[in-house]
Symmetry: D4
Subunit: 224 residues, 8 copies
């Protein structure tokens, strides 16, 4: 794939036939086929190739089909996945399932927020030990955890705002705005609930890191 990230079928708003067909095509051409926003009812109605290895992440509503021969491209990649609260888990799960399907090792930390600084510091210590290439940080409500995390880690942190909350700003806007206004520079964000986008960003970072470890394939002679 041009961007190093496999196409993901957005199942919402498609018929079972359309999703089944798209998955089969991807499975044949790529060896892996992923669909997001797959509700259990839809899952029942899908036509799934008999020879595929099937994994369904119910919380994250992600379906992964693999050719038994499929070789995940990003082995050696490491990504941290941090959730501010348990309500943020489904969004993080969507992201993590895709990362793991591609061979990336994921280290998860849950219930880590600025309201509990000692737990946050402990999680930071474990994350540092894990030496991730990137960290995805999911938070709703005030969205402050990714801001704090980004200040304490020297690896790229991808903020994933979630629609957890209610009242003014409670559909993820407060979290998103807070991350955009981060007082610790370098925090980047994807849109509210976009776990697939966060995964794709992390994959790009992993890819460029792993690439660096191999000898450069073609001589470079850029003239600026």
């Amino acid at each position: 794939r041009r961007t190093g990230f496999p196409e993901v079928v957005m199942a919402e708003g498609k018929t079972p036939e359309q999703v089944s067909e798209a998955l089969e095509a991807l499975l044949r051409s790529e060896g892996i086929a992923i669909a997001s926003r797959v509700d259990p009812e839809l899952l029942d109605d899908l036509e799934i190739p008999e020879d595929a290895d099937v994994e369904y992440d119910e919380a994250g509503r992600v379906l992964v089909l693999k050719d038994p021969e499929y070789e995940p491209p990003y082995r050696g990649g490491r990504v941290g996945a941090v959730a501010a609260g348990t309500s943020d888990l489904p969004y993080l799960s969507e992201c993590a399932t895709v990362l793991e399907a591609l061979g990336i090792e994921v280290h998860t930390e849950i219930d880590v927020g600025v309201a509990g600084p000692h737990r946050l510091l402990a999680a930071v210590r474990r994350l540092r030990k894990f030496r991730p290439h990137a960290v995805v940080a999911a938070a709703g409500m005030d969205g402050t955890m990714p801001v704090a995390l980004n200040a304490m880690l020297d690896v790229p942190v991808i903020g994933l705002p979630t629609p957890v909350g209610y009242g003014l700003g409670g559909s993820g806007e407060a979290a998103l705005l807070g991350m955009l206004q981060s007082c610790s520079p370098g925090l980047v964000v994807v849109n509210v609930a976009n776990g697939i986008g966060a995964a794709a960003a992390a994959v790009k970072i992993v890819r460029v890191c792993l690439e660096g470890e191999k000898p450069s394939k073609k001589p470079r002679n850029s003239r600026r």
Copy 2:
């Protein structure tokens, strides 16, 4: 005064004559006269009674006139005043100057944010020692510090969002929304840049606390 908080003259949008007159009237009736949003140029044009004690807080643009006999009503009151960054100081200063004019002791902490957890924890330790009746926490940009502070203190924390920032949400909306969505319950807020409102809220808390230390003035027989 009915609410225990003196009237404050909002100088912005008034002529020097109107402000001078209002201040003189308050000085005579209350023994203290406070004006907010007083720019240095306006200050020059004011008619200030010769016998008044004058204090001008340039950063906070607050002018305080006092009768030499004035007895500040809230001696014994203690309020913490915390700023996330130096850019937040003018807004906090407006608040602190008013509190001190009323006899309240103010303990100030500056440059305290979630990006520096050890500095934040140290500030929290000093604040606890100070035993404030309330804490005013000023922050712009992501507005996360008051959320963290409120989680670590058992006294009332009043969030004061500031218009420090730029881009989407940079006029204080991100900070305000973050505080409204606080994951630590009990954080209350006033509007963006409303240092006078934060002071008034803190004064009400101080007043009700000090009141409790004196014997109740009138017998109580509430029938619910």
Copy 3:
């Protein structure tokens, strides 16, 4: 607890098992366990320890479990609870139920708005007699009552905007904005429908007031 306010389980978006487990753990460690946004159907599915004292506030959707030995920490605390209209009651009830579970005496006033100034003045008179440490004022639509109340009382008033209304600003934004723009200084607010936050703020004020009545536990030597 660090903040003097017990953890409250937000039941919405959790499974019965998750809620039951969280409640049991809190009951064992704290002697009290509170869950908010508990719908009657969820209530039926919960596993509630046999030895717990159970209270369920249907209007406010709050569930309180107590160890029979539990000693409420804030006896002697007094909080006023005022609703602009009957539609605002569920939000106020969430707040009041939590306050009472912690031992605080709550005085309630209903159907109090600026449209009926004599009723408002009568309620103010009763509230003054009650001598509350704080008042929670719930209002939707135009949200004006808390503004008026704050002008007439010398105790802290916490505005609780409610999503009562329709049309532009009818999900609580008009009420929230009006309170933020309060022409009477010192009104503080929590987010729309955040009865738990209002309770937590009131508890902090009660705590710091009651504390003042006891001899100071440790000598104080803050150096500013």
Copy 4:
């Protein structure tokens, strides 16, 4: 005029020549010529017909030219004009100057807000005595006064939100939204700072009332 309200020249964004010309034309055809948003500098540059009676309301920035023979059409009309604070006066003044130029008697009340219920009740008493055909109520910030006034008067109340305030909702949105969400039914509004619109609405009400006092000019035989 078709609507019973004279055309008003909006001077802002027009050259002195354009404004002068438009005023002269109106003066000749209508006997009265009104311009709004006339700054003092603009006034200096205008070409004003020598034979005109000139009135300039500096606060409201309204210029009125009259033919000495002009007969104001709405004598006997009575309109109340109420301002929540002194900062709201310029907006109210724009409205009142136009009303008076048309022969309407205006009764003004200033500094009337929900924060001072006794002053509000006193103003209401005086307004009732005045027996106005309509009342214009100008308020910024929380915009609550027109809501309260509308609840206490049986005549039409026109809310005039003003851009007095700062922070979220401080350009008149909070005031406008509050009036739109008025818990007392029947409050109508014009846009923020639209004193001319408020005057025009009041004139229409006055006109239809005065009309009723005269014998109907043409027989009526509407068949619905």
Copy 5:
């Protein structure tokens, strides 16, 4: 009633018992009892006094109960009711039903918009003949009809924006904003879908007009 407009029970969000009780009380004290937002299912569950005259407007979801002796207070009042399209009718109907219950004659015009100028002009001619004290003009989508109508009539026009439309601004915001920005001065508005508010405003205008026709009850000696 203080404002000349009867209290209207907002049925939405109330139990059948609460609505029944409120209606009975109003019926006894006022001779008339009105409830808005009454769905047919709710209607079935209400306890309606046997001796009441009952009227139910299904489109407008308004229920009116009258004592057989009730004497409508505003006989002689005339109000025009204009709808831009048929989708706007329910909102207009809510308004008209209340007006008629109070004795006001209502002249209705439907499907009148700026897209059909000849139909609009014809409606204007009929409205002029009717000689209304006020006109209520309901429009969704672009909301332009009330703007045009207000320019062609010399009586008060009350804009009633409706949530008819979709896409950006389609919940009534475009209609409301357009009316607030009306290029014909004097158009006043109530909130989106607020037919009760429009009725209350029209009643106030009718009342002050009819009043003018009777001899003044008490001598007037206002001193400005």
Copy 6:
């Protein structure tokens, strides 16, 4: 040019050197060079080729340079240009100056709004006689004129919202939203104040119309 519309240099935010250079390059390659948002002060500082024909539209702030040999490409094109009020003229002028520079005949109508239906109908009659290929309709405030015009003409109408107005929606949002919600289908819009965009859209329509009048250049054999 690929799109049939010449590149226009947006002068705002560029140095005189940058603008001069860009204009010279366009003049050489295209025979015509246009810059928008050229303030008089900037004009003074520009280096303008001696051999160019120069036209400067002060109201619209557009500068046009032409090679004396330049042959305007759209002779025979006809576009109507309608302004709701005089304040909308600068925005319309920007559009019209560009159209005329390209050889298009422009018929202008001013001060045409729904508030004056007879003037609007007269303008429509004149426009129909002119037989334009397209009409650009500029309006601020309520933005209703383009909606009405689109309903009365069978040629494409391009709505050009202008930032004429004040208060809520007064920066062109009300006008833009109204046009997007147009009850007469087929009205298309460009962004607020985008006279260049309106010109470009009109040019594309003119081009495709004129094209139709010439024999088709290449045989067509599209297979769908």
Copy 7:
């Protein structure tokens, strides 16, 4: 019809009787009757004249009835219809069905986005060959395709934003704003999901183009 575009019955929010009646009337007077937003359930309940030719577009929810004698007015018209993704198809289909009912040839391109520049360039080549009078370009999410398309085609491009997406801006606002901010001048837009509006705009362009091919009906002597 005055505008050259037939009236379309918006079925949503109407009863089956109202829709049936409106369709029958249009069929009799115009020879064609179109209804939009017709859900399959509604379709079952409609009374459809026996002699009508019936076409139902399920994806676009459009119903077209034709008199067997009906002569489509725009034969020879050609419109391109481009969808960024399959999720945008229903909105485009609504538009295309109406165009084809009126005799216009429609060339459709699907799954054309800036993420696949080679597919986009190929589609552009096919569109150029088709020589459309106008192109309708439907896109949700980022809405970038119409911007790119408009830059590559010299015919009018009508942007049709769709509510495909989620998170901030995901109801079509991001797509709409992007098109309004188009860096390629001349892109015009209709509101989110307004396929009927896009069809009407395309029809007006087709009509004025076809008109140009016929000899002018009446001599022209416009005096500007």
Copy 8:
């Protein structure tokens, strides 16, 4: 530094003394001192250590001071910097100057937009040859270029929205929303005009990539 990115002094809103002092301190402790938003007038007033190497980027308003001994930490790092138009350059320049100060090689591409697909494809080819670790893509108005770029590159792309534009969404909101809604997954964004944030994000990616090329410093034994 904890995050691998040096502290940057935000000069806006600070006095020359405060900026000078902060820069000197950073210079002493880090060997490098950077200030952003430094206007030329401010620059004149700064006290700059004589022994420092000084670089001032006027377009980007960035000031860099270096100890002559300073060793840039990220030599070998490569970042692409792409601007949609010349108006976007200042924002990109702020970012590039900081990157280069830290030793990173920056390859810049200007005037690259979806409106010119061949220029975009050529830029993509040059960028691929450069083999960057990350790409920063600055765009205002419609903000589409970063979306397209992200689809064509397999390295991380950081969208930097700029406030280039006018009308609805013209302060960078349209660009930001478009990037958040990117149909190519993995595009991450920073806030409008936040060139410093984009630089910090790129530095983190460079750092983690370069790190991978060195032998791991400490044995890793994370237990998940």
